[in-house]
């Protein structure tokens, strides 16, 4: 890869926000590069199938959609740099992007689209048991627990979707949520209620993980209202308690974050630094979906274009 390559816009991340930003920037005539540590798609690729991205009446394979987005941006000349970003310098008019390979790139504008990642539950031994029964991706790992008991923690769409998915594979599914109602969309209520092998534990949290022979064997469940504790024997715990932004690379850059750690930016994506925009799940916003990420990407690229034109 070339050192000291310069672009009008550097986009950090190849999730739906970053790839849409690249598409809009390239179509506006800007030289645009997306930087990605893995491959296109971001969190989309943790999903079996997207049923809430419009335009696909029967749903769409998330991986296919990711590659189509990438190819579409490439068709208009957007460049893909397969290197993890190690550090960013964002306060000067010329922004510097240093990658894990030691290569340095510069850009006149930067769009931050690093996205988010599953939030850990925060119980003891969680990281130690990750891949030994603790999982953050039901569609990835559910297959390993065929005809076994699985526990899902969380109350949003991911948790509800995971419970439905696992109910088809596992003998028994326990859904544990700390509030007395799920936060998930109404569309999940009926199918969940109809499952013969689902047990709901509302007002409950997972307090402890138990291990046997190096793998998860049970979880302790505590009712937050009654204080009652019970042990649920299980070989699989699927954590779906929301996401946290991937902002590690922003440390020391001067970018303003909100109290939850998301990049503060409005609809145009403009951050507190000139020429730096945020798009997708990494931004302060009400709803984090592929459909809202795509809108963010278009807005941020357009704002970056205006910024570069008026400079």
């Amino acid at each position: 890869m070339v050192d000291n390559a310069h672009f009008d816009v550097a986009i950090i991340g190849q999730g739906p926000a970053g790839m849409t930003a690249a598409l809009y920037a390239a179509r506006a005539g800007l030289s645009a590069a997306t930087f990605e540590r893995m491959g296109p798609g971001g969190q989309m690729t943790d999903t079996e199938r997207l049923d809430n991205y419009p335009g696909f009446a029967e749903g769409v394979d998330a991986f296919e959609l990711a590659f189509a987005m990438s190819a579409q941006a490439a068709r208009f000349g957007a460049v893909s740099v397969g290197e993890e970003v190690a550090s960013l310098e964002l306060d000067a008019p010329t922004k510097r992007i240093t990658t894990a390979f030691g290569n340095v790139y510069t850009a006149d504008a930067v769009i931050l689209a690093m996205g988010a990642e599953p939030r850990p539950l925060g119980v003891e031994r969680e990281s130690e048991l990750a891949g030994r029964g603790v999982s953050y991706c039901a569609t990835c790992d559910g297959g390993f627990f065929k005809d076994k008991v699985a526990v899902v923690v969380g109350g949003g769409n991911t948790a509800a979707g995971d419970a439905l998915y696992l109910s088809r594979i596992c003998s028994q599914v326990h859904l544990i949520h700390r509030r007395n109602t799920l936060r998930a969309d109404a569309v999940y209520a009926q199918p969940l209620a109809a499952l013969p092998n689902l047990t709901m534990h509302l007002d409950c949290v997972v307090d402890a993980l138990h291990e046997q022979d190096g793998a998860l064997s049970a979880v302790s469940v505590r009712n937050v209202k009654t204080g009652e504790t019970s042990e649920v024997p299980t070989s699989a715990l699927f954590v779906a308690v929301g996401t946290r932004p991937r902002t590690g690379v922003l440390e020391g850059t001067g970018i303003e974050l909100d109290s939850a750690g998301y990049v503060v930016a409005g609809e145009t994506g403009q951050t507190n630094l000139a020429g730096v925009f945020a798009a997708g799940d990494v931004r302060t916003k009400a709803l984090r979906q592929v459909s809202t990420a795509v809108g963010d990407g278009a807005n941020a690229a357009t704002a970056a274009f205006e910024y570069l034109s008026l400079r």
């Binding site: 540590r37 893995m38 491959g39 296109p40 798609g41 989309m44 690729t45 943790d46 999903t47 079996e48 998330a62 991986f63 397969g82 993890e84 894990a100 390979f101 990750a130 891949g131 030994r132 029964g133 999982s135 991706c137 569609t139 990835c140 790992d141 297959g143 390993f144 627990f145 190096g214 793998a215 699989a236």
Partner: protein, 102 residues
Amino acid sequence: MAQVISSSEFDSKVLGAQGPVLVDFFATWCGPCKMLAPILDEVAAEVQGKAAVYKVDVDASPDLAQRYNVMSVPTLIVFENGQIKRSTMGAQPKQSLLALLA
């Protein structure tokens, strides 16, 4: 290209290999595995002659998945002289895979 190997080839190609071997335990239905595939191919090309890179389909080779206690895909294991040297889970960037083999 990182070649997919069967259960019958595993012992000779991986455990009997000279030098380190990176094995990706993957599933055809797993998104992060698909994301990892082109990166793995790049790594295979880059380490050619020094190390080997193979893939094991956990559905086609459940015996191997069980033998190595694979409960998450992708799981990446580096073998050296027939022994597990390092292992990690989840899709990884290229430089992390190269570091695993180093």
